[in-house]
């Protein structure tokens, strides 16, 4: 509690003094989130497509993703750690699992929302199933996918603060150091940037989502 009396100024000073270190933690944090999300996109979009194309498989896939989603984050991290051991890959894999549901579900919903007339037109003009998917259905479900990505990103940034518990990097390290040392400044220095990152991700991806919605205007009869 030694630095408490210095208030906001003290915190700003601390941030300034440790800017390099904090930036590297932020970078580490982002790298984990990006890797987790990237993997989730790579796996989640195809699974969403499978769900939309195969109504029999859809409940299985969505329920599995749902179960993963409701596991407490700490429990999930611990379980993954048992399998993969400590370190970067464990946290990335956990973030991947956590981001999966919003991406699968939104891809699925987005594809289902594509107007039946547009689908029929695509088929009718002679698009193959793949062409229909890549030229029409996926582009049209992009705003939905974006909403899923946004949700996934915010969750992932939050969960990533737990990384130090299983030997990962990121802003969580500063928070735990603060907890251990009873140093509030350190806690703030980790928690506030992490929160800002989440807010920033939400705003930026929200803007992108709006832009996509406007760009992909729905035809009105």
């Amino acid at each position: 509690m030694n630095n408490d009396s210095q208030g906001v100024m003290g915190w700003l000073n601390y941030m300034q003094d440790h800017a390099g270190y904090l930036l590297s933690l932020t970078w580490g944090h982002l790298v984990m989130v990006f890797c987790g999300l990237g993997l989730a996109l790579l796996v989640g979009i195809p699974l969403g497509v499978v769900c939309a194309k195969n109504e029999k498989l859809a409940p299985w896939i969505l329920t599995t993703a749902n179960i993963i989603q409701v596991l407490p984050s700490l429990a999930l991290l611990a379980l993954v750690m048992i399998m993969l051991g400590l370190g970067f890959k464990t946290i990335v894999f956990s973030l991947f699992l956590y981001s999966l549901l919003p991406i699968i579900r939104n891809t699925y919903v987005g594809l289902k929302e594509v107007d039946a007339g547009v689908n029929e037109a695509g088929k009718g003009v002679g698009m193959s199933a793949w062409q229909l998917l890549f030229k029409v259905q996926l582009p049209l479900s992009l705003p939905f996918l974006m909403a899923g990505l946004r949700l996934a990103a915010v969750i992932a940034i939050g969960v990533a603060t737990l990384a130090p518990l299983i030997g990962g990097e990121g802003l969580g390290r500063e928070i735990y150091a603060g907890l251990n040392l009873r140093n509030n400044l350190k806690i703030y220095a980790g928690a506030i940037p992490a929160a800002l990152l989440a807010i920033l991700a939400d705003i930026v991806l929200g803007k992108l989502q709006d832009k996509l919605k406007q760009g992909r205007r729905q035809a009105k009869v």
Binding site: D115, E120, K123, G124, V125, M127, R216, R217, A219, V221
Partner: protein, 386 residues
Amino acid sequence: MIQFEDVKKTYEDGREVLKSVNLDIQAGEITVLIGPSGCGKTTTMKLINRLIAPSAGQIRIDGQDIAKSDPVGLRRKIGYVIQNIGLFPHMTIAKNVGVVPRLLKWDRAATDRRVDELLSLVGLDSEIYRSRYPSELSGGQQQRIGVIRALAADPDIILMDEPFSALDPISREQLQNELIRLQQELRKTIVFVTHDMDEAIKLGDTIVLMKDGNIVQTGRPEQILRHPANDFVKSFIGKKRLANEHQPDELPIVDEVMVEHPATASPTRGLAEAVKMMEKRRVDSLLIVDKNNRLQGSVSIYRVLDQYGEESKTVADVMKPVEHVVQTGTSLSAALQIMSEHQLSNLAVVREDRQFVGLITRGTVVSHMAGMYASERPGESDHVAV
């Protein structure tokens, strides 16, 4: 050009949408498939580009069984315009129109040229519209794009599935006219599905009338209007159009116009009875027929009241002989001629043996006219005051 041979379509749930369709669609013509909803017209059309597969039978295009062709390749060779327009909302107008040429891997310059050419064909300035999105266009403009998209790769066959039904009446009219104009130039084989008989008559070279999965009648519009195959066709065409087709050489005959059960009385009725009957039927005269239904004469309320005091008299005593009658099958115009010439308020219709069958009055003529010109569509006839 396109032949259907004993084509059937039954869905898995046992619904029989097409029972046995045999059809020969001529090249260079607009063939309109028409019928009430659920008659199988859209199914028939979608069989052609294999959006639906038949349960039995064969469909040939230029003699080739289409079941043996690659469906994707087949569809690229057949233009397709759908009901709710179906433009791709995320593509610009130029991209939408050029979608088939791109699928066919035309080079870019050729596709661009073709897009400009097609836009100008329907009177849309390509400078303005190329880069717009479908949602920025009116419904009529969107469907113009829908039509030229189908024309883009210059297919021989174009399928149109109720393409103008979602449009407002003015745009629909314009697009129909444009289609007629385009067709005069292009001479495509067009299969056009609609439920609107006016549209079918306006656009169709051949009309195929369907009901419950069967073809009821096929023919030129003129043929169908003049010689409807059965009551269903008649009712589908509607009295209005049948009557219009009769004009000017075939006015309706008196049988269609007359009242079939006008107020009649036997010659032995008393005068008081006659007054009571007129009161009840709300008429001012009675026709007197004998027990064999032969017309004897007529009495008016004035003559009856004139002699009312004499209780022993019957209507036979006061009736006037009927001087003017027409025979069944006489044209209405001839009957009207007689009525106006002799200042008659009504005219009896009789058979050859003078058996009375009905009566034409001014009222019946007016209501017949109203019936002819009032629309067949429910709701609209209410507005015609008679």
